[in-house]
């Protein structure tokens, strides 16, 4: 018996264990031989012999099973080990591209206003004087036109200098109430460290019955919007001037780089200018034939938002497609 157990324990692979199994438990195995002795054993001793035999068999079976489990486990372990690789070699294989930080920022801005039940509107990039200037209370030769160096075409057309003509087109095509944004590229004839001939704007316009839309409403939505985009910043409104709004304001946020203490980015003022807004000028409504309405409008430069949010120092780099910059946004 000890001898047999020893055999099982000494089997060092599933293969040799299988041999032991045949030798012990097989039809012509040792146990079968022992059992065959049973028929020769006289009656009174038979029961005791059989009991002893069964007990031994059960003990051997347990030993065998344990051994089998152990060897099986070892074999799986071995197999797994053979498949081992240095996973740290493969971490750099990922090849996803990235959305452009300007476009991604624009997406975020659109998402915000869509969530507040604004519609998204679009218009042509090649515009005419009426939609781009005249209807926006920028009559010909108005000094405010100097603010926007315009690209003209030989036939008198022009590249829109802001997304505001989309406001005009939307107002001419639909009736109030209006709640819209117009995202898109705009063009000004200017190229230096802080200007590119093309950039992106998002424009907003809300028009409703006379007396309904006020400056206080504008303050409310823009403050919340800027908190969504820049987090916990202070928001400051400064009176300003735009031909198409009256009263007008420029909106600043406390500098996100120095937390308002003053640094190079905010020209040591502690504030960053991010938005222009105001109550729609009555002349704009007159130009589109609206009467007895009130409204607000706002506009922002997407590049500026993207540069501030992602701390991108150079505006022009946004138009160079440098993969070293882009892949950081994967």
């Amino acid at each position: 018996m000890k001898n047999l157990e020893e055999k099982i324990i000494q089997a060092d692979s599933l293969e040799s264990l299988e041999k032991v199994r045949v030798e012990l438990f097989g039809k012509k195995g040792l146990l079968a031989a022992e059992f065959s002795k049973l028929k020769n054993i006289p009656g009174p001793e038979k029961k005791a012999f059989a009991e002893g035999l069964n007990k031994n068999k059960a003990a051997l079976q347990t030993t065998f099973d344990d051994r089998y489990e152990l060897l099986k486990q070892e074999e799986i372990e071995k197999m797994l080990k053979e498949e081992a690789i240095d996973v740290s070699l493969y971490g750099t294989l990922a090849q996803k591209g990235a959305l452009h930080p300007v476009m991604e920022t624009m997406d975020k801005i659109i998402d915000y206003f869509v969530a507040l039940n604004f519609s998204v509107e679009s218009g042509p990039m090649v515009e005419d004087d009426f939609h781009n200037f005249e209807a926006l209370n920028l009559p010909k030769f108005h000094p405010a036109r100097d603010m926007q160096d315009t690209f003209y075409f030989n036939d008198g057309g022009l590249l829109r200098t802001h997304t505001s003509p989309v406001q005009i087109r939307t107002m001419l095509e639909t009736k109030p109430p209006i709640r819209m944004i117009a995202p898109g590229s705009v063009f000004r004839r200017d190229y230096d460290l802080t200007h590119t001939p093309m950039f992106h704007q998002v424009e907003g316009l809300v028009v409703d019955e006379k007396g309904k839309v006020s400056f206080a409403n504008l303050k409310s939505i823009l403050t919340d919007f800027l908190h969504t985009m820049f987090g916990d910043v202070d928001v400051r409104f400064r009176p300003s001037f735009f031909p198409f709004t009256e009263p007008s304001a420029e909106v600043d946020i406390s500098c996100i780089f120095c937390e308002g203490k003053g640094c190079r980015v905010c020209s040591h003022t502690g504030w960053l200018e991010v938005l222009g807004c105001g109550i729609v000028d009555p002349n704009v409504f007159k130009a589109v034939g609206y009467e007895d309405v009130s409204g607000y409008a706002f506009g922002l430069g997407v590049e500026r938002f993207a540069m501030l949010i992602h701390q991108i120092p150079d505006l022009r780099s946004l138009f160079e497609g440098d993969i070293r910059l882009l892949e950081q946004f994967r």
Binding site: M103, N217, P239, S267
Partner: protein, 776 residues
């Protein structure tokens, strides 16, 4: 607009107002502060008095001065030529540290000891006030020998640069800024004191005749003087320098100074040079609205608000001077001047935005300056030309103001604010007042302009934010759904490893032409492009993307995948949206997987990426033609049966031109990609089988033809088929072997061998007939 704090103080009491408070107030009332700076004069720079000045024994250009610096007498060698005229000067004594880490030490110059330096303004960090050293006078304050120069307020002054909006011409002067500031700080303007002294008994009317012709819509005011000698106080070039005006000739400095101070446009005409007779004949003519010319004895002097002739300007020896102040409404002027080639002088910036209409203020300010420093005769009184001016009246309804601002502002407060801003209040009644807009605020025309003034003065920060109550509405439109789709498309493109690019809408016309792309008709092209290589609108994004790839190759990138969505324009300048993709160089990153030698991008790999972006499509023989397309590795892309663009290997010649790796390109029309509605097909519950078929066909027969032939059978059970092998060798000659895998499945039963055979034999028969195929 640059203002100087001590200059502002001439018009408003700023005592107790810190620079910080000034900064906040200006910003709050809409005069944005661009910068604020205080001049800091180093210590040990003191007022000195030159006691004697002698030529240096050994150097022509040097003078040896004995200077009283208060505590002692110092010998100082000075190289400036104007030191011989100087009495009071700025002396940096030994130990003074001047800007640029320049410490004054005891020195010996060509054998003569020198203890200190007589300074020029720029050496102290002040603006350049003219050639040579600073020659001080009482205009900066009472001079006391030995006193630190930095202790003079008018030297250690604070300058504030304001970025004025285009409507605020009224703030293009020190007086104008003070006027606006006064309302915000609730301080009254100082009354400008001017007492007439030494006037000639002779009135100007005895000397000058004014003849007007046409309707003169400008205001003019004249005075006459004979000036024998004149000098300029130091404060004038100093302040002009501080506000960024280059000091010029003496009389010009006076005029610039008085104009910057008051905002009134001031000119001086040299009557002697004009060879005028005893009695001056002045003609003021307006033959065209907005253009008012002034001439004397038929000789042109100026166009009001635009320029002055060179011949009429004062020279140093001028004696008989006719001074003019003028005002013309900017809207009138700007419109009249537009499109004309008048030469415009520096004042045009002011006149086109609205100069100060209070003409006598300018005249009196100038006279008060001149009379202090000149010897001459001043004729009595002014001659005026007045325009027919109609004041702007606005009815200010308090309720309307409240609705615009979103907050109730008390009527009394509104009235006070407007009164302080110079509005005249001509009627009060119930919930409204009638006001007259002051003439210097030409920009205020309606109630919303008035609301802006009120918002400015009460401060936007004192208006409570209130969310707008809205009526919900369905605002989904085509632009929105296109935007949503484009966003998904862009995200998929990024997921396949492409980076999103933004390039300018512009392109190089020559380059587009040379590659055979559309270019705008000449009469539709840009008039004023910003650069040669951006001189037209792009008709493809691919050329821009190639430039971007090249830049990245220069930055040593080896695998460059980019995409861009955006507008392109055809010859008629019609705008359409496209999606463009480019991939250049290694198909995958360098890694242990490829032993650092990845394969180059190839047609199959690029098309796989394309599919991951736009979904399923078919490729047919390429029908597009341009210089970028490889004639034998290019295809039309069909989405749901509609041709929507092309895919191609970049033409090797272009690849070489750009010096880039193997490159693949695709450009698709967005319109064709927008998703259409899809209805699901029922899926079979029965088992299907795969069957391969190898046929021999002509080498030139494209797979597309085989595919079409099979499709034309319209077999219900033939669910899909696709090529899995292509084989050519010498024994096949002009033919090739093509293996196609078929998937056969029925909707209503498990297919039997017979059914399958039937399908395959029909296919074979069709291919024999349509493609001259034989079984391999």
């Amino acid at each position: 607009m640059i203002v100087v704090k001590s200059w502002l103080s001439e018009f408003i009491d700023l005592s107790g107002i810190s620079d910080e408070k000034l900064y906040q107030t200006f910003n709050a009332i809409g005069l944005e502060v661009d910068s604020i700076k205080t001049y800091e004069i180093p210590e040990k720079v003191v007022v000195g008095k030159i006691l004697s000045c002698e030529k240096h024994p050994d150097a022509d250009k040097l003078n040896v001065c004995q200077v009283d610096v208060g505590t002692a007498k110092r010998q100082i060698v000075c190289g400036a030529a104007n030191v011989v005229d100087a009495e009071y000067v700025a002396v940096a004594v030994v130990g003074a540290k001047l800007p640029g880490d320049f410490e004054i030490k005891f020195a010996t110059l060509r054998g003569v000891d020198s203890e200190g330096m007589i300074c020029a303004s720029s050496e102290l960090g002040l603006p350049n006030t003219g050639k040579g050293i600073m020659i001080l006078d009482e205009s900066i304050g009472a001079l006391k020998v030995g006193q630190e120069l930095g202790s003079y307020d008018k030297i250690s002054d604070t300058i504030i640069e304001l970025e004025l909006t285009a409507n605020r011409g009224d703030c293009l002067s020190i007086h104008g800024v003070a006027r606006d500031l006064g309302v915000a700080l609730d301080r009254e303007l100082k009354h400008f004191e001017y007492t007439i002294e030494n006037r000639e008994k002779l009135g100007i009317a005895r000397m000058v005749d004014i003849h007007t012709k046409g309707t003169v819509e400008a205001d003019l005011c004249y005075t006459l003087s004979t000036i024998d000698d004149i000098s300029v106080p130091y404060l004038i070039p100093l302040r002009l320098g501080m506000v960024g005006i280059e000091p010029g000739e003496d009389m010009e400095n006076y005029l610039q100074y008085a104009t910057h101070a008051t905002g009134v446009i001031l000119r001086a005409y040299d009557c002697k040079r004009l060879k005028a007779n005893e009695r001056l004949q002045l003609q003021v003519t307006s033959q065209e609205r907005g253009i008012v010319t002034v001439s004397m004895e038929e000789k042109p002097l100026s166009i009001v608000g635009v320029n002055q002739t060179k011949e009429s300007m004062t020279k140093e020896n001028s004696r008989l001077l006719l001074f003019e102040s003028s005002y013309i409404h900017p809207d009138l002027l700007v419109e009249a001047v537009a499109g004309k080639n008048y030469e415009k002088d520096d004042f045009y910036y002011k006149t086109s935005r609205g100069s100060e209409p209070a003409l006598t203020l300018g005249m009196e300010y100038l006279s008060s300056l001149l009379e202090k420093r000149s010897i001459g005769r001043y004729y009595e009184g002014y001659l005026h030309v007045d325009s027919p001016w109609e004041p702007v009246n606005i009815s200010v309804n308090f309720e309307e103001i409240a609705a615009l601002i979103g907050q109730k502002i008390e009527g009394g407060k509104i009235a006070t604010i407007l009164k302080n801003l110079g509005f005249g209040i001509h009627s009060r009644g119930g919930e409204k007042i009638g006001v007259v807009v002051p003439r210097f605020r030409h920009d205020i025309k309606n109630i919303q302009d008035v609301a802006e003034e009120i918002v400015r003065i009460i401060g936007i920060n004192n208006i409570d934010a209130k969310p707008l109550e809205i009526i919900e509405a369905n605002r989904l439109n085509e632009t929105m759904s296109h935007y949503v789709f484009r966003k998904a498309l862009r995200q998929r493109a990024a997921a396949t490893g492409l980076h999103e690019n933004i390039s300018y809408l512009f392109s190089d016309r020559n380059k587009l032409e040379s590659y055979g792309f559309d270019t705008l008709q000449r009469e539709l092209d840009l008039t004023n492009p910003i650069a040669e290589e951006l001189n037209t609108l792009r008709s493809t994004i691919l050329v821009n993307l190639l430039e971007t790839v090249k830049r990245n190759v220069n930055y040593t990138a080896k695998s460059i995948g980019l995409f861009e969505t955006g507008a392109v324009f055809d010859a008629n300048r019609e705008q359409k949206e496209v999606l463009s993709l480019i991939f250049s160089g290694h198909n995958t990153v360098e890694s242990v997987v490829n032993s650092g030698k990845p394969e180059m991008i190839n047609f199959a790999a690029f098309v796989q990426k394309l599919g991951a972006v736009i979904g399923s499509f078919e490729l047919l023989e390429c029908s597009y033609h341009n210089g970028l397309i490889h004639p034998y590795q290019s295809a039309d892309i069909y989405c749901r049966g509609v041709k929507c663009g092309y895919v191609s290997k970049l033409h090797p010649v272009v690849q070489e031109d750009y010096g880039i790796y193997d490159t693949f390109i695709a450009e698709l029309e967005m319109e064709a990609l927008y998703p259409k509605h899809i209805n699901a097909e029922v899926i079979s519950k029965f088992q299907g089988v795969y069957k391969d078929l190898s046929v021999v066909i002509d080498k030139e027969t494209p797979y597309h033809q085989v595919k079409e032939a099979i499709a034309s059978l319209e077999l219900d059970t033939l669910k899909k088929w696709y090529p899995v092998d292509i084989y050519e060798d010498e024994t096949l000659g002009a033919q090739k072997s093509l293996t196609i895998r078929f998937f056969i499945q029925s909707m209503d039963k498990t297919l039997q061998e017979d059914d399958i055979e039937s399908v395959m034999s029909q296919v074979m028969e069709k291919l024999e007939q349509a493609c001259q195929a034989t079984l391999r």
